[in-house]
């Protein structure tokens, strides 16, 4: 039915026409779903992690802001995700302590609590080798949550950690009984025994019901499904800090106990597989450092010849993914865009070449190079492996 419609000033004649004919869309003509107990994700959204058996990469190119939806937080585990009944789970703290104690999950929640928004990144978070890699492929083993728990220092005081305790073992309750040795100082500084993530209990993939969370440190040290902490006067030299999570440096040596995550940034838009149109483009990305706050992010739109300061979205938090943006007018000619972060220690994100020069001709853990994206005249965007 052709209908004469009203103008903005209501002048045109249109008697006897149902308003339904004036309205564009079905949603306005039928009552929607009533309120429920648990919300839903739109079925039009197909945002997923990319899993292997042992890890699953966050779709960084599909995210907005700095919070990672908990069910899209990257995964890395050594024997799958255990099913743990929180009523049966306990944390034992023993070794060089005055009073070895066992805490139920309920006990841990009774202590003074702390929350912080911080990233968690696997130190093996680097892939390269072909042009058709997305941010998720290159660097999807980093995610960010608001973590809540009890400070480990509070528990240290409760058990009375002895002065000669210099390391502690953190042990998980998964089938790998994952263990890492951690300097006691980190426990006093800012370690959290976390039981919540983004407002709710930890997700199973993230250590439900209790995990260690070591802000700024390589993800593997934030032992999930935490069941035991043993205070010691030396490291335990577990398999995860010897055979794994050690990396080659020059002269045939290997670096051990490399905990800090070096500062890194990546442009998540525009990035493969998305495409762009000529004109104004907001270049978007995230930057972070395991050593403190992001001080600055620079963006280059001319393959690294010149650099401009990007805007940083507040709040700029310590050891946290920080969103950066740079509004750019693309004239349609082929170019490369890059981002480079500087953290508050003055560390500037290196190029792959600088990293290889510094460490020798091998790629290992803690690779955080500047990522370049090629923008083709047709608007396709490709990763530039170096």
């Amino acid at each position: 039915a052709v209908a004469l419609v009203q103008t903005a000033s209501g002048k045109t004649l249109q008697q006897g026409i149902a308003v339904s004919e004036l309205l564009p869309d079905a949603p306005t003509k039928q009552i929607g779903t009533l309120a429920g107990e648990v919300g839903t994700r739109s079925t039009f959204e197909k945002v997923v992690k990319k899993p292997s058996d042992i890890s699953s990469r966050s779709p960084l190119q599909d995210f907005y802001g700095i919070i990672t939806p908990s069910d899209l937080h990257f995964e890395r585990h050594h024997a799958g995700v255990p099913v743990i009944d929180p009523a049966k789970h306990e944390l034992l703290i023993h070794g060089l302590v005055d009073k070895p104690l066992v805490f139920t999950v309920g006990d841990l929640k009774r202590f003074p609590s702390v929350s912080r928004i911080a990233f968690l990144e696997c130190s093996g978070n680097f892939r390269s080798g072909k042009e058709t890699l997305s941010p998720q492929d290159i660097c999807g083993l980093t995610s960010q949550s608001e973590w809540t728990g009890v400070k480990l220092s509070t528990l240290f005081r409760e058990v009375g950690v002895k002065p000669n305790a210099s390391w502690f073992l953190a042990e998980g309750s998964d089938a790998a009984i994952m263990t890492r040795s951690i300097p006691v100082k980190k426990g006093w500084d800012d370690a959290i025994v976390a039981y919540a993530q983004n407002g709710e209990a930890l997700r199973p993939e993230q250590g439900y019901p209790v995990r260690l969370f070591l802000p700024g440190w390589e993800g593997n040290t934030s032992v999930k499904w935490l069941r035991r902490i043993e205070l010691s006067d030396q490291p335990f030299m577990t398999r995860e800090e010897t055979s794994k999570y050690t990396e080659p440096i020059k002269e045939g040596k290997y670096r051990q106990f490399s905990f800090d995550i070096d500062a890194r940034s990546i442009i998540t838009f525009p990035a493969y597989p998305k495409t762009v149109e000529k004109g104004w483009i907001e270049i978007r990305g995230i930057a972070w450092s395991g050593r403190g706050k992001v001080a600055r992010v620079e963006v280059s739109t001319d393959a690294g010849k010149s650099w401009q300061l990007a805007a940083l979205q507040k709040p700029i938090l310590d050891k946290a993914h920080t969103a950066f943006r740079y509004v750019w007018h693309w004239n349609g000619t082929e170019t490369e865009i890059l981002s480079r972060v500087t953290d508050e220690t003055g560390y500037v994100q290196p190029t792959l070449k600088q990293l290889i020069e510094a460490r020798g001709n091998t790629i290992g853990y803690h690779f955080n190079p500047i990522t370049a994206w090629r923008i083709k005249p047709d608007g396709t965007v490709l990763f530039k492996p170096e």
């Binding site: 419609v5 009203q6 103008t7 903005a8 000033s9 209501g10 045109t12 004649l13 249109q14 008697q15 006897g16 026409i17 149902a18 308003v19 339904s20 004036l22 309205l23 564009p24 306005t28 003509k29 039928q30 009552i31 004109g279 104004w280 992001v294 001080a295 600055r296 401009q308 300061l309 990007a310 805007a311 940083l312 700029i316 740079y326 509004v327 750019w328 007018h329």
Partner: protein, 165 residues
């Protein structure tokens, strides 16, 4: 952290120009001054019949009671406070037309013709004792209807600070 803003243009050239036709198709609101009212007209007698068929099940016979609340003011001795209705609480008559057209009947929104909405508006104003049975409601007359509740509304004067308002 330095924020680059000087590169920002006023306009980004994003979006497409809306045609008059597509604006009109969506522009269904009605303002207190009558802007937005379509052609057509209604009277309370016809409105009363439509109401009985399409509305009374939810809003009660004659607009009083019903599972979804009264639309017509009445003195109900069972209630401590009078129910808020069009007669005693609505400051603008145009809202009656606008709201019914966009949202009612609840289970079949968007199913009424403009003419039906005019009739229903006329009926609800008449049943609330605001207009008489003979009145014709259209784009000219509706904005002129002065609602009993209009004088009751005042703007928000809270503004932070120590005073509780």
């Amino acid at each position: 952290p330095v924020v680059i803003t000087d590169t920002l243009p006023t306009r980004f050239g994003i979006g497409r120009l809306a045609t008059a036709a597509e604006i009109a198709r969506l522009d269904i609101d009605v303002r207190p001054d009558g802007k937005g009212l379509p052609a057509g007209q209604g009277n309370s007698t016809t409105g009363k019949q439509i109401f009985a068929t399409k509305c009374a099940a939810c809003h009660g016979t004659g607009g009083v009671g019903g599972p979804n609340g009264s639309l017509v003011t009445s003195t109900n001795p069972d209630r401590k406070r009078p129910e808020k209705t069009i007669g005693n609480y609505w400051p603008y008559a145009t809202t009656v037309f606008d709201y019914i057209r966009r949202a009612m009947p609840f289970s079949q929104p968007g199913s009424l013709t403009n003419e039906e909405v005019y009739h229903l508006t006329a009926y609800l104003l008449q049943a609330n004792g605001i207009i008489d049975e003979k009145a014709v409601i259209n784009a000219q007359t509706l904005p002129r209807v002065v609602m009993p509740a209009q004088k009751l509304f005042v703007p928000d004067n809270r503004k932070g600070g120590p005073e509780i308002k």
